[in-house]
């Protein structure tokens, strides 16, 4: 008997995102060659404020995740390690610091390496917008700034320790945004273009709203798109945030998703298990993981990284009030609250998306994104009784990933889900 090879059904529109990303990197190089001042940034898309200063932005994770997914991350990490940065440090940051050293001319790549991939224009300004208030972004930004001898601005939402802190924290964030705008005016020598920012926000509103709608459509069984598709779409609201065409591409994606629902097509050939993923994907093992899940009839449906982190409050975006819109999307989001809030949000998710089990990915060099994993597991288990596993991995350093470990633990999770189903049938 011939065994069916089950491969993931990737959305066609997702490949267009890759093309758009590649074009944007070429565009940053072109703009820099024309004398535009360039921003390097990391973290969440509040750096879109640079658009009003007409400064092209090279977003760290946007570039590095793509390189890692194509297995091209190592030369950057080598450049950072040669500088003295140890492998325990955030691998996104390490890779970007490696890029800074290359841009500065302090590290020369081996001639066998495709130089073009790693040659980016030197930054004139660094903007750090940490995800979930991770202070590592500050260290990372200061490192690039010190290497390239440029200013760094840390646009950092204060943490909502108590829910009553929110109002102050939003006001504080708006003050920071204003300060950044003044700094960009000094760097470019030009007045800030508020009208352009408004136009950008209009595109952002369209894109984020569509993205939220697509994610909601994935509550459908079988899920028409997976966590992998939604992870790719982060590029449209992060590195490419506010770019003309991002909304249209998401519209196309939504059309494809709706068509799949109408035809009963899922993102994996057979969907027997619907899973939640906590943490960043191990980008260098993206393909391996996608195939693995499809082969096991499991669909990764939802996770905070794709669904709650990058401008999740489309409803709060008002182009007439750009600073407030951005502030709400940074301050009043799940990752800026502690475990009680997060565990509740995840439990709600699990119900809305009919989740059978949780995978907590230990993003080994990131202490920001997976900080409350155990509390979430505990909270969700208590509320819904869902089984959970942890698996090793990392955002950009494949050395922390072990296929054998993932296989064993995944198997155990699926068996537990089966056992629970049997018990429920009794």
């Amino acid at each position: 008997m011939e065994t069916q090879v089950k491969v993931p059904n990737r959305l066609n529109s997702v490949s267009l995102i890759g093309q758009m990303m590649a074009a944007s990197f070429a565009d940053i190089k072109r703009q820099a060659a024309e004398g535009k001042k360039v921003v390097w940034a990391n973290g969440l898309p509040a750096f879109l404020l640079a658009k009003g200063a007409h400064m092209p932005v090279l977003h760290a994770e946007g570039l590095i995740a793509g390189l890692a997914a194509r297995g091209q991350e190592k030369p950057l990490q080598d450049a950072a390690e040669a500088f003295g940065l140890l492998p325990d440090a955030c691998s996104y940051a390490r890779s970007f610091i490696g890029l800074a050293r290359i841009a500065k001319g302090d590290f020369h790549l081996d001639s066998s390496v495709n130089q073009d991939v790693y040659s980016m224009p030197k930054p004139d300004l660094y903007i750090n917008v940490p995800g979930g208030g991770c202070g590592t972004g500050r260290l990372w930004g200061d490192s690039v700034a010190a290497i390239c001898d440029i200013p760094a601005f840390h646009l950092e939402p204060r943490f909502n320790w108590d829910e009553s802190d929110l109002e102050y924290n939003i006001a504080d964030f708006i003050r920071q945004e204003q300060e950044l705008i003044a700094l960009m005016e000094r760097v470019t020598g030009q007045p800030y273009d508020w009208n352009h920012l408004k136009e950008v926000l209009e595109e952002v509103k369209k894109a984020t709203t569509l993205r939220q709608e697509i994610m909601k459509l994935c509550q459908h069984v079988p899920a028409p798109a997976s966590f992998f598709d939604m992870a790719a779409s982060i590029g449209l609201v992060c590195h490419l945030v506010g770019m003309p065409g991002t909304g249209d591409l998401l519209q196309k994606m939504k059309g494809e998703v709706e068509q799949r629902i109408a035809q009963g097509i899922g993102s994996v050939p057979v969907e027997r298990y619907r899973l939640y993923w906590d943490g960043i994907l191990t980008w260098p093992r993206l393909g391996v993981l996608a195939r693995k899940f499809a082969a096991l009839d499991a669909c990764l449906v939802v996770g905070p990284y794709t669904h709650l982190l990058f401008l999740p409050r489309a409803d709060m975006i008002d182009p007439e009030r750009p600073l407030e819109s951005i502030a709400y999307n940074l301050c009043d989001t799940c990752s800026n609250y502690d475990y009680t809030y997060r565990a509740k949000a995840v439990a709600d998710f699990c119900q809305e998306y009919s989740i059978d089990g949780l995978i907590m990915s230990e993003t080994q060099t990131c202490r920001g994104i997976n900080s409350q994993s155990f509390a979430i597991m505990d909270g969700v288990a208590r509320r819904l009784g869902l089984p959970a596993i942890t698996i090793g991995g990392d955002s950009c350093d494949p050395r922390f990933y072990s296929d054998a470990q993932v296989d064993t633990r995944l198997q155990a999770l699926l068996e537990t889900i089966e056992a629970r189903r049997k018990v429920r049938q009794l």
């Binding site: 003295g84 140890l86 940051a93 202070g135 920071q176 475990y339 900080s371 155990f374």
Partner: protein, 381 residues
């Protein structure tokens, strides 16, 4: 103070340091006062003191991490994992409050996890500005200090007025002054006191009522001033790093065992803790803010590009006529991991040899470390 008295004082300090939480529990029972644990580095303990409570700096213990692994990943720094572990085991429940400050993501996560594992306890989180070139940082710092002051007043059940806060600042300044005197005495004559003992003295200051510690310390300093130092042969070393956790004594033994003499440091459980005082004129809250913003030593947990740590370290190392620098990185400590390349570069440019060693909470074989240290010390001029 006689020689035997000195021994008694050191034994008293050692006793506190060896089993800090047991001793604090006993102290609390005997004195009936509230005890508040402060996360290391940036929390102004004076505020707790002014509220009539005992502030102590949370310390890492030697205990193996077990239950804590169900609450925190193994790739977090030692002090974070250890504190969570002992909290889960109930060892911190006697504290009336725990106050954490925003120094890094691991510390933040520790605060959140403590809230989770000790739901009945008072856990507060302080967010002093970390980007020191931002506009309005003084106002922001004062606002945050006022906010936490109000929280501490609630916990203590009494007001913190300016007079009591100034009084507390004086108490802390006096302790810092004596610690600086001790540091300088030892810097001039390392044979007076082993570095291991200096560590014990500093750590005990973090764990005892300051008044009692200062009194004992004053006697010790007076005695040491009169003593003739035993002469020491060896290479002069500057100890740098460990931003917030104390050192395990075995690493100090190793350094001294291979012929190194530690003459100076910038450790948190060292010079960093007592380097600068708080002003006593004007508003005390403003003075605390000024100490935080303008006076404390450069540290990578705060962003201030004009005054980076590596520049400061090179100056200090040269100033102390150190022949080499031992950089101690607590494993997984990201603020240190990201600064190390710059420290390395600056020391190399300045022609100051250095060795970098990673330290772990878990007991590891020290043989490899000994060999590297030995080679390092031998090659120093």
């Amino acid at each position: 103070m006689s020689g035997s008295n000195m021994k008694d004082v050191m034994n008293r300090f050692r006793d506190v340091v060896d089993t800090p939480y047991e001793k604090l529990k006993l102290w609390k029972e005997a004195n009936g006062k509230k005890v508040v644990g402060c996360s290391p580095m940036q929390f102004p303990e004076e505020l707790v003191h002014a509220a009539g409570m005992l502030p102590v700096v949370l310390q890492e213990t030697d205990e193996a991490i077990t239950t804590g692994f169900s609450y925190i990943y193994p790739f977090y720094c030692g002090i974070t994992r250890n504190i969570i572990d002992i909290a889960v085991k109930g060892q911190l429940s006697f504290f009336d409050g725990l106050v954490y400050a925003d120094i890094c993501i691991q510390n933040r996560n520790a605060a959140c996890t403590l809230k989770q594992v000790m739901p009945a306890s008072y856990v507060e989180y302080v967010q002093l500005p970390t980007s020191l070139t931002r506009a309005g940082v003084m106002d922001d710092t004062i606002r945050e200090l006022e906010r936490i002051k109000a929280k501490l007043e609630q916990l203590a059940g009494r007001k913190i007025d300016d007079t009591s806060l100034k009084q507390s600042i004086l108490v802390f300044n006096r302790n810092r002054l004596r610690l600086r005197q001790l540091h300088e005495l030892r810097r001039a004559n390392p044979g007076l006191l082993s570095y291991r003992d200096l560590q014990v003295i500093v750590k005990s200051s973090m764990l005892m009522p300051k008044e009692e510690h200062t009194e004992l310390l004053e006697g010790l300093v007076t005695q040491l001033e009169k003593m003739k130092p035993s002469s020491l042969e060896g290479k002069r070393l500057f100890l740098s790093g460990h931003l917030c956790q104390s050192l395990k004594p075995d690493i100090l033994d190793l350094i001294e065992g291979v012929g190194g003499i530690i003459v100076d440091d910038d450790l948190y459980t060292g010079y960093r803790y007592y380097a600068v005082d708080v002003a006593v004129d004007g508003s005390p809250i403003q003075a605390l803010a000024k100490r935080y913003l303008e006076k404390s030593l450069p540290v990578p947990t705060r962003s201030y590009l004009p005054a980076r740590w590596e520049k400061y370290l090179v100056e200090r190392a040269k100033d102390s006529r150190a022949q080499g620098v031992v950089v101690l990185v607590a494993k997984y400590c990201e603020p240190h991991l990201f600064s190390y390349p710059f420290v390395k570069e600056a020391l190399e440019i300045a022609g100051v040899p250095h060795i970098m060693l990673e330290t772990e909470h878990e007991v590891v074989s020290l043989e490899g470390v000994r060999t590297r240290l030995q080679a390092f010390v031998e090659m120093l001029n």
